[in-house]
């Protein structure tokens, strides 16, 4: 058997016997994302839906001053609640999302035909207050329009006079592209699956083997160091790949447990999607394997390597952060940057857009070029005398 294959098979076999590695590479790393995602999304979606569809409970101060208004709002789904003692405090303490306040002179101004005023008290910095506030505002605007039109009709005028402009909304988003916004975090989970899937192997195969003093006997065999390195990288890659495949399948399955269509979204990860994701992530997979091995080769011990690699794990977060803080228009050059290219490409796929084979090609070529570069450095480190000497 070829030496590279021998090393590869031995490392795979040995690590499949290690409970911690198997747990982290094949269970924890790939399934953490999908499970967390399903739970979070379900909580979020149900929360939003109950706020958007159920009766809107709003404490009303001075309801007795405007019975007609309250009745009209009730018909639109308002469920008026008793007034709190201190409306401002109630909003600040999150006892209420929004409070409707009607002044005592409401009836007088209304009858005089002057603009009467009502107040909405809310705290915009609290999450989840915008939906109820917008709903209440919408109800009020409906009432305003209705009453305005009736006043015009009573004076023999067409209501159209007061409406010089009508806005027509033509949202170009599709159910898929809307889901792309929400699922923008997916590429990050894929990257984490690759990274964590291979991490323990990368540490074990270089830093761990040196710490256990088995690297020196291994290097006494008539096998060139680069072949040993190649076998080890292959084993790391195999575990990363398994982790990634499980993660993608996990998300595909998770999609069925999400009430995405209730939000007007569609979340469908078909075989074509899975195939393109795997293809896009391929260069990242080998790049991480060599990068992790390089770091592990520099570390003096298993623990040190673990510390370094935990720090390195922050790296894949960067493109995700960039994408969420600034709206980025995908450009071809971005595919040339490892990590960024994967982030952009998978986001586009999630939005239901096609990405060309030329873009995928650029991501592959540049990713493999970067891998080759880091690989040469790693091979150099592997040739050094320092690496083999354990004590």
């Amino acid at each position: 058997m070829n030496a590279i294959l021998t090393v590869w098979w031995k490392e795979v076999k040995e690590n499949l016997r290690d409970k911690r590695t198997v747990m982290s590479a094949l269970i924890y790393a790939p399934l953490f994302g999908p499970i967390m995602f399903v739970v979070l999304m379900n909580v979020q979606i149900n929360h939003e839906l109950s706020k958007a569809e159920g009766p809107l409970k709003v404490p009303v101060v001075g309801a007795q001053y405007a019975p007609n208004l309250i009745n009209a709002l009730k018909q639109q789904g308002l469920d008026p609640q008793p007034a709190p003692h201190d409306p401002e405090a109630a909003v600040r303490d999150r006892d209420a999302d929004v409070v409707l306040q009607i002044p005592s002179d409401y009836g007088k101004t209304w009858r005089a035909g002057e603009p009467a005023q009502v107040e909405l008290i809310y705290d915009a910095s609290q999450t989840g207050t915008s939906t109820p506030r917008e709903r209440l505002e919408g109800m009020l605007k409906n009432y305003i329009r209705e009453q305005g039109a009736m006043r015009l009709v009573a004076r023999g005028l067409s209501p159209g006079i007061a409406t010089p402009l009508v806005i027509g909304d033509r949202d170009q988003s599709t159910p898929q592209s809307r889901s792309g916004l929400v699922f923008g975090i997916l590429p990050y989970f894929f990257v984490i699956a690759i990274f964590v899937g291979g991490m323990y192997l990368a540490i074990d195969l270089t830093a761990g083997e040196r710490e256990r003093q088995s690297l020196e006997p291994l290097f006494a065999n008539p096998v060139a160091r680069w072949r040993i390195l190649a076998g080890k990288l292959g084993a790391i890659g195999a575990f990363s790949l398994a982790s990634l495949v499980l993660c993608v399948i996990g998300f595909a399955v998770a999609g069925h447990f999400m009430p995405a269509e209730k939000l007007g979204m569609s979340f469908d990860l078909g075989a074509a999607f899975i195939g393109k994701v795997l293809l896009l992530e391929l260069p990242l997979l080998v790049l991480f394997a060599v990068l992790q091995t390089l770091v592990a080769a520099f570390a003096k011990s298993y623990r040190e390597a673990q510390t370094y690699l935990s720090l390195l794990m922050i790296l894949p977060i960067v493109p995700s952060m960039l994408m969420s803080f600034m709206p980025v228009k995908p450009a071809t050059w971005m595919y040339a940057v490892p990590l960024l290219g994967q982030q952009i490409g998978i986001s586009e796929l999630l939005r239901g857009r096609a990405i060309g084979m030329d873009d995928i090609g650029i991501a592959l070529v540049c990713g493999f070029a970067a891998t080759l570069l880091v690989g040469l450095v790693t091979a150099q480190i592997y040739r050094s005398e320092r690496l083999a000497i354990s004590a």
């Binding site: 058997m1 030496a3 021998t6 090393v7 031995k10 076999k13 040995e14 690590n15 016997r17 290690d18 083997e209 256990r212 003093q213 088995s214 690297l215 020196e216 006997p217 291994l218 290097f219 006494a220 065999n221 008539p222 096998v223 060139a224 005398e385 083999a388 000497i389 354990s390 004590a391």
Partner: protein, 244 residues
Amino acid sequence: MIEVKNLHKAFGKVKAVDGVSFTARDGEITGLLGPNGAGKTTTLRMLYTLMEPDSGQVLVDDMDAARDPVAVRRVLGVLPDARGLYKRLTAGENIDYFARLHGIDDTTMHARREALVDALEMRDILERRTEGFSQGQRVKTAIARALVHDPKNIILDEPTNGLDVMSTRGLRRFMQQLKGEGRCVLFSSHIMQEVAALCDRIVVIARGRVVADDTPDALRAQTGATNLEDAFVKIIGSEEGLAA
């Protein structure tokens, strides 16, 4: 046959090996004797091409270790100072792994493994994972792993280190057997009795230099000492690091 010519190796300012030359012949056991820190392990590491000498030459079966390290490693069986076994593999799997790295076919591998298992009396531990092995069981496995490709030249770095009396005796018998098979056996030790009992030739190293290179009898005669321990102390000039 292993020939070492004027090896030098320094780590920073420390000259670990400072002009070591000797020859280990086929069908003989050559002992590399010296106190702790004399440069034995560094010398051996240059022999099995883990380290590159600053200057000097290593020839194994007339092949230059600097020119073709892979070919040299092919004819060497090495028990390094670091014994590290793979804990999640059985003793047998540890041996098979190295056999495959040598590119040995399965039939030969099985035959060789069987012979070694018998010679080293390790049948009972063959199918066990090496985690929790005793020192003796570890050394046996490491030696079997190192010799599975039937090497002509054998390098053992302090093979009896940490072994009990029974294991040590067994290992000595095994080394005699290797010698009987016409192999070149080179081992390092800091234990006088061991070297005296086994070696055809003793190379004494102190402070990175060869201070004596002869048969045990000749060493005794040369120093005028009646026993080897006194001879050894006279040769290296101090009793430092002699404790066995």
